[in-house]
Structures are given as C-alpha cells and as structure tokens.
C-alpha cells in the first residue's frame, strides 16, 4: 500500500525502554532508535521500504516539500514543541496527521486533517505547571516545591545559572507586606543591594571550595534562620526548623537496609541525607573541576551524583519544612518527569493508530475518530471510547485563515530576545520566526537569519517604537505560518509573569489528582511537565501522553473513571449515539505499522 516509510528519531536506546519498546533488545542499548527499529522491522517484513533518520524532526531539512512526499504522518512524540511543529508542517503540506499518546494505563488517538478537523493547537492545552518564586524560595508546602528548589540549586552551584532559578530567601515576597508598593520597594532594594545575597551562589560556593559543610549550614541553617525572621510568613504556617551539621552527625547511625525492596525505595533518615548531600557535592565538585574552566554540568536524572544531590537536598528541605521525606525512587519520578509506561497500553494505541491509518488510506477519512483508552470501563461499559472529530476552531491561532493573537506585556521591560524566545518560540511554537513591525516602514525586528538582528536582542520593544496597539507580523517560513500579534502595553502583570496571551484560560493548579499516577502525568509529554525541567538536554522519557478519559458523571460502580479525569470536562461525542462532541487532549504514541514504507522520525 504505502510506497515509503520514513522514520525520524534523534534518540538512542536506553535499558529502561526495553520493557515496552519491543523492537529493541539489550544489545542495542546506546544505538540509534530509528536505525534499530528499521532493522528489527525488516526482520519480520523484509519487503518494507524504510528510511531511518537519526535526527530531530525540527531540523529545517524536513520542510513542507519533504512532508509532501508522504500520504500520511503518524506521531509518536514526547514533547509539545515537536507536536506543534509537526502539526503546522502537516497543515502546510495538507497531509493527514495521526496524533496519539499514552501514559500508564491511559491512551488516546486522533486524526488531524486540514480544513476538516481541529488541528493540534485548536484547543488551548494546559501549560507546564510552574510555581511562584516565593513558594520555591520561602514557603514550600509540598515535596515538589522542594524538588524544584533542589534542581535550581544544582544549576546555581554546578550548572548554568538562571535568574529565574534563585534559591535564596526572597525578600520581595508579596506576603511580607500589606501593599504592592512596599513589595515593589523591597524588590528594588534587593536588586540594588550590593550585599552578600547578591553574590552569585556559584561564586560563593567556589570561594569556599565547595565545602559541603559550609554549604549545608548556609542552605539548611543560615538561610532558614533568615526566613524565620520574616515572621509574617509563619503566622499561619508551621515554621521551618533549621538543621545543624554537627548536631546531625551526632545522630547519624548506620542505615539498616532490609533485603527485599529496591535499594532506591528506602527512605533514609535526615542524618543519612546530610551525608548523601556531602558525598554528592564532593563528586559533583570534582566532575566540574575535571571539565575545566568555565565548565557547567547539566542535570540528568540518570547521572547518579546529580540524582543523589537532588534527592539529598530536596529531602533535607522537606524535613526542614515538616514534610515526610521521600525515597530516591520517588524523587527521581518527580524530578525526572518520569511517566510510567507499559507494553500493553502502547500495543492498544498502536493498533488503533493503524486502524485509523487504514481508513485514511482507503479514502474514508470521515470514518476517523478520536478514541480514548480508559483504565476501567465508563458507565456505558466502554473501555475504548470513539468520539467524532471536531471541526477546526474558527479562532485557532494556527489553522484559522488569518490567525491573530493579542499579547499583554510591558513594552519598556520586554527585551526583543524575550519576545523571540519566550513568546514566539516557547509559547507560540515557532522554530525560526521573522518579525516585522506594522509601522508603515516594515521595520524588521527579528530575522531568522543568524546574526542579522542580533544587535536588537538586548533592546526593549519600546526602543523600536512599539507601544500599546502596535501590531507585529510574525512569519515562520519553515512552518509556512504567519501570525499577527497585537501588542497591549500593560504595567501591572502579576509577579513572575512576563506576558499574558489574551483569551488564554488562566493557568490553574491542576485539580488534585484524585487517584492514580495517570492523573498526575497528564502532560503533553515528559519534557513539558511540571516545572522541574531545568535540564534542557536531559533525554526525556519517550512516552507522552495524555489524555484522558471520557465522560462523565461519577458512577456508583467501583470504577473510578470519572474521578480519574478530575476536573476535565468534556462533552462526549459518542459516535453511535450522536451526542455533543468531545474535546480531546494530547496524545502521544508508539510505533508504526509493518506496511511497506515507513519513515520513522524522532
């Protein structure tokens, strides 16, 4: 049937992939996924015509013309940026796209066809969860806050320092004052202070030779004592309890490790974590020294010292803030955004993808459906729930005929670089934006050609005459995408918020996962989930997924189907009964089929 298969994946095989990625064996660990997948498939289907590309799908070589070579694209991606990108490429090339995802026991498949269905970006997707700086720095109340703090600390000490990843007490915490003006004053004061807190954490650590005892006492004693002076914070909260290195060592006793569990699943005592802290600091210090001057380490959940460090630092902080400490196993899940994954869920979704593909290839795209896989049957006894596809959204800022958005920001405080990286690339999913100001002169603000507009990066938007009501024409030629951005000047954005897209649903904390991990993992891919993504290079988990669940009202049966989906309401369009249509969420997914040619891309 198909003439060619192309397969693109920049990832290599890891041992943790082997419980489900059955095209790979132990001997393949370290090799290219695309390449090995091709070889394995050829074993049972030697006539298949497959090309494997060990590459990123976002490489500009894969332009619209490249996509036009294919009748169909099937995604098995693990991050939103790539999905957005492929979505746009398929729209530009007018080729059907099968999107999918899995997480744990849940999964979903859907079909995207320009003009006929919603595109991947028609429905706003919940964005990555972030926590306010003061929660991380002053008043953590959940283990995740401490884990994020520990990852920030890693970067401050050993990695790339980031102004958004401060770990020291935050004197500009809005809770400390009665009025905004006061907060503003404190923030300005702390910015301008030449005092000790303004010396970079890395420089300070270096000046002590990364002495772990000094580090320990600063982070877990001195800084905590400082927080205690901010007494307003502790009026209604339990105050943190500072630790002291020497006192702790007196308590230290050898840990009894009972034989039957995983070593990583044990929870040590606070003294044990202080020692782990010290050992990991020493290891990391020497790793850094080995790399030479100006070196930086990148956090990686699979690097033992880096993981030990975060485990120790997060647990010490949790203990200080009266939270139950967690095992390395659990912390690794949270810090590394690990989404549990199994062979069976992926097999089901893969089968469904192929069935949808067959419909498309036989010209029956109107038979295509979105299909959700639940953990338990819904009140209508359905474990697999097909729903009619929704038509494109008229306001979609990607697939509408002349997409427009409105963005609120402070033109005097927003850098051109921030516009490019945080707004156009991160938020709006562009890969190589070109920006022109609609000022009658067609002033070029940003060029995708390297170096051309670099000088503009450190200037503010207002320097170019951009003000309230200005319009920017943004093009991404690779994605064949033009977006008109209306600028609204605003001086009163919330703390830590650099811009706001008008019409976006406000970012809410997700409804507390009423049950399983699947709920927690509701994410558009590992790489995008809750904040702790401080390492951009860390290989992410391969499975993304999402979605969830269908309907409905809670049933009286033992099924937790509806509570699983928590606050996600969808009107369900049951293909058979013809009810209102469902909004789907993201997906992600596994393999392609054994038909003729496949291109596996990653």
């Amino acid at each position: 049937m198909l003439a060619k298969f192309g397969e693109i994946d920049l990832d290599t095989i890891d041992v943790s992939n082997l419980n489900r990625q059955f095209l790979f064996q132990k001997k393949h660990v370290g090799k290219s996924k695309a390449q090995v997948a091709k070889e394995s498939v050829l074993q049972f289907c030697p006539t298949a015509n497959i090309k494997a590309y060990h590459d990123s799908i976002m490489n500009p070589d894969y332009n619209v013309e490249f996509f036009r070579n294919f009748m169909l694209v099937m995604n098995a991606l693990d991050n939103r940026a790539a999905r957005n990108h492929v979505n746009r490429m398929c729209l530009a090339a007018d080729i059907p796209l099968i999107e999918s995802g899995t997480a744990g026991y849940l999964g979903q498949v859907t079909v995207i066809k320009k003009g006929l269905t919603e595109c991947y970006e028609c429905q706003p997707k919940p964005t990555q969860k972030t926590f306010p700086g003061c929660t991380i720095r002053n008043t953590p109340s959940e283990p995740i806050h401490c884990i994020v703090w520990a990852k920030y600390l890693f970067n401050q000490l050993f990695g790339e320092e980031d102004a958004d990843q401060e770990v020291s007490p935050d004197t500009a915490d809005p809770e400390l004052s009665w009025n905004p003006a006061d907060t503003e004053a404190r923030a300005t004061a702390s910015d301008q202070d030449g005092d000790i807190k303004r010396v970079s954490t890395k420089d300070w650590a270096r000046s002590t030779g990364y002495d772990s005892v000094k580090l320990f006492n600063k982070l877990f004693k001195d800084d905590i004592q400082y927080l205690l002076t901010m007494d307003k914070l502790w009026k209604k909260r339990k105050a943190p309890l500072p630790l002291d290195w020497l006192e702790l060592q007196k308590l230290a006793c050898p840990q009894e490790v009972t034989g039957t569990g995983l070593k990583d699943q044990h929870v040590l005592g606070v003294a044990g974590y202080s020692q782990l802290f010290s050992r990991s600091v020493e290891t990391l210090r020497s790793m850094l020294a080995d790399k030479g001057d100006g070196a930086e380490l990148v956090w990686d959940k699979d690097d033992p010292a880096a993981m030990d460090f975060v485990t120790a630092a997060a647990n010490l902080r949790m203990h200080i803030f009266s939270m139950n400490m967690k095992s390395r196993f659990d912390i690794k899940s949270m810090a590394g955004n690990i989404i549990p994954a199994i062979a069976t869920t992926n097999a089901v979704i893969a089968g469904l993808i192929v069935l949808e593909a067959l419909k498309i290839l036989s010209g029956d795209v109107e038979q295509c459906r979105t299909i959700f896989l639940n953990k338990q049957p819904n009140p209508r006894k359905k474990l697999l729930v097909p729903c009619a596809l929704d038509p494109p959204s008229a306001n979609c800022y990607v697939c509408a005929s002349k997409p427009e958005v409105t963005v609120k920001l402070n033109v005097n405080k927003t850098l051109v670089l921030a516009l490019q990286d945080k707004i156009l690339k991160e938020k709006f999913g562009m890969v190589a934006p070109d920006v022109q100001i609609e000022d009658g002169k067609g002033t070029i603000l940003i060029s995708s050609e390297e170096g051309e507009t670099e000088a503009n990066n450190s200037k503010f938007l207002s320097d170019f005459g951009i003000r309230n009501g200005s319009r920017l024409q943004v093009d991404d030629f690779l994605q064949d995408y033009t977006l008109l951005v209306n600028v609204i000047h605003c001086e009163e954005l919330e703390k830590d918020v650099e811009f706001e897209v008008v019409g976006d649903a406000p970012d809410k904390a997700p409804t507390p996962p009423s049950s399983q991990e699947e709920q927690k993992n509701f994410a558009n891919g590992n790489k995008d989930s809750a904040e702790p993504s401080t390492s951009s290079n860390a290989p992410a988990e391969q499975d993304d997924v999402l979605i969830v669940d269908s309907d409905e009202e809670p049933s009286s049966s033992t099924m937790d189907v509806s509570t699983e989906s928590g606050g996600l309401k969808r009107k369900l369009h049951d293909a058979e009964t013809g009810e209102a249509s469902a909004k789907r969420q993201r997906l992600d997914q596994a393999t392609a089929d054994d038909d003729d040619d496949i291109i596996a891309l990653d």
């Binding site: 082997l18 419980n19 059955f22 909260r237 199994i342 089968g351 049957p377 507390p512 089929d593 054994d594």
Partner: protein
C-alpha cells in the same frame, strides 16, 4: 496457585530494576514480584497469540509456554511478528521461540508442539494462568472448568477480521488490591482576618497513597457465560444494551467447531453462506431475531488483522498481568472490540 506465590520471595536484581523501572513505577514492586513468580501457558501462536506472548514476556513473568501444533503458512507470517519469514513449514510455536526469547532473556520461554486437545489434565495444573487462543468451544469449556477448580486463572481470546474478544474466569474468589489516594480532609478553620494576604494552608501530599484491599467474587465459568438464557422477557429487554459481538462470537465458534477452521478469504463465498446459515440457526435457538447480526456481518470477520490483534492482545495481556499481580480491578468478564467502530466494551455474561 496464585496465592501461594511468595511476594517476599527474593530480592529484585539491579538488572530487573533497571529494565522494569517504568512498569514498577506504575504497578509497584509487589506486583512485579508476583509476576516474576508466575508461570503461564499460552495456546495458539497466530497473530493474537504473538501479541499476548510479547506482552507477557515484556511484563516479566517467570515462564511462558507456547503451545501450538500447527505449521507456519505464508499467511501466518503476515500477522505474526515473531515468526521469521524463512520459517515456513516449521511448527508455529517453535518458529516463534527465538524472537520471543529475545524480547526478555529473564523469562523462561518454551515451545510445545503438541495438540492442546491431547494434553492430560495434569499438564495444565503446572501453570498459574492459562490463555487459550484459536481453540474450539468445547476445549475452552473443558480447560476452563479444570483450571478454575484448581485456582488457575483462565483467559480466552480470538480475533476474527475487525472483531475480537477476550473472556476471563478468575474463579469464585479473586483477591486484588487497588491504590487509592489518602483522603484529603478539608480545613475547617477559615481565615476571617482582613489584615493580610491569605496564608496558604498545609496540604496533604497528593503523591501519598494508601492501598485498599478488595475481594471480587463473581467470575463464572465459560460454559455458563456462553449459555445465557435469552428466552425470558427480562433477558430480551436487556438486548438493547447488549453488545452484538457476543452473538457474533457464538456464530464464529460454531463455524470453528463445524469446519475445524476459521472463515478463510479463499473460500469467501462459501464461508459467508455458511456463516449466515449458522447465524440464523444460533439466533433462532436462542429465540432471538436473526437481524441482530446484519447481513453484511460476514464482511468483517475474515482473517486476523494485525492491528486488531494488537488491541485485543493488549487488553488481554493486561488482564493476565492484573490477575497474576493481584492488582487493580479485573474486567468482568468479556471484552469485545469492534475495529470498524473503534469501540471496546466490557460486559458480563453469566448467571446473576
């Protein structure tokens, strides 16, 4: 036999911990240990069998026996990814063995070339779970009866074209645990003060969970599940909510019994006629209208479709995993998949 699996049995090795990491994070270490102590028999290595084999081997059972007396044909190469294309003429179980073993060297995979009908009762008793694919109705009934008496979990499944089903009999008293989050108690003291920003209340850690034990009683035997009485008014009124695939299954099992094989595309016309005849006979015997299965039903039940095998094999494989690991509520007691519609339904058939 399941309850005798010692979960405190042995330490999990570094290698297992690394390989099974992503599933241990889903179903926990105890479940993994139970799997690791389980022996499973899989009968039938066509497309569905291969999918189930793959799923159970990757899950990390102790041992999997592949039982199939048939030979590899050209068609079996297409829907079955464990058999190399060079293996024509070999026994199906033997031909599947190598690739199956490569999936996970930590599982003891064996091939058995005997006919399942000729196996003595004792043969089945060495397993913790038995999974029957491509088997006749009578055999399935017999093996199910024998196994459930001995507390062995029984699963049946087949794929016919775009359709597939799975049946399970976990015995009269199947125990399992479920994970539930700790109940979050709402804070009662509200902040009524006006002198400051609202303080945040300490929350219950959402990642802490507790286990709840449950006991599920109701699995009936296959015979009872297939011999539901449709003559009563009550039964007839429940027809609207009944998946039609249940009746399709009866028709296809009868075909298999009568012809000794499944509908074959090479004899499409003749087999279609027979299928329709069987439909009429079966439904009439049940005092039901033959229109329950529309005229064109025959078009969608020839041959094993690989993607349908993947879906049914995935659900069936996961049911075996759940039963062996005694974790999470099992589907009770049928799962029907309609690959044309993309719908998958769980329903109970049997005495109430």
């Amino acid at each position: 036999m399941i309850d005798m699996i010692e979960k405190e049995d042995s330490i999990i090795s570094e290698e297992e911990a690394a390989q099974y990491d992503r599933q241990i994070r889903l179903w926990g270490l105890d479940a993994q240990k139970r799997l690791r102590g389980s022996r499973v028999l899989l009968v039938g290595l066509r497309g569905l069998g291969a999918e189930v084999a793959k799923n159970l081997i990757l899950a990390g059972v102790k041992g999997l026996t592949l039982l199939d007396h048939e030979q590899v044909t050209e068609e079996s190469c297409r829907a079955q990814f464990l058999i190399p294309v060079s293996a024509q003429g070999q026994n199906r179980a033997q031909a599947s063995l190598e690739r199956a073993q490569y999936l996970n060297p930590m599982v003891a995979v064996k091939a058995d070339t005997d006919r399942v009908e000729e196996k003595p009762d004792e043969f089945f008793l060495q397993f913790d779970a038995v999974c029957l694919t491509g088997c006749s109705r009578d055999l399935m009934i017999r093996v199910d009866q024998l196994c459930s008496q001995n507390n062995i979990k029984v699963f049946c499944g087949d794929v016919f074209g775009y359709h597939g089903y799975m049946f399970s009999d976990l015995g009269l008293e199947h125990n399992y645990v479920e994970e539930k989050p700790k109940a979050v108690k709402p804070k009662t003291e509200e902040s009524n003060e006006h002198d400051g920003p609202e303080a945040k209340k300490p929350k219950v850690d959402p990642s802490e969970t507790t286990m709840i034990k449950k006991v599920n009683v109701d699995f009936c035997c296959l015979k009872d599940a297939l011999e539901v009485d449709w003559t009563s008014e009550k039964a007839k009124s429940s027809l609207k909510r009944t998946p039609v695939d249940y009746f399709l299954l009866h028709v296809l099992l009868k075909f298999r019994t009568d012809k000794g094989r499944d509908p074959n595309p090479e004899s499409f016309a003749e087999d279609s006629t027979l299928l329709r005849q069987i439909r009429d006979d079966v439904l009439e015997a049940m005092t039901l209208s033959s229109e329950l299965l529309p005229h064109d039903f025959v078009s969608y039940c020839f041959s094993e479709m690989a993607p349908v095998c993947a879906v049914v094999g995935g659900v069936l494989g996961q049911e075996v995993v759940k039963a062996l690991s005694q974790r999470d509520a099992p589907h009770r007691n049928f799962f029907f998949f309609d690959g044309m519609k993309g719908s998958g339904v769980v329903d109970y058939f049997g005495p109430n």
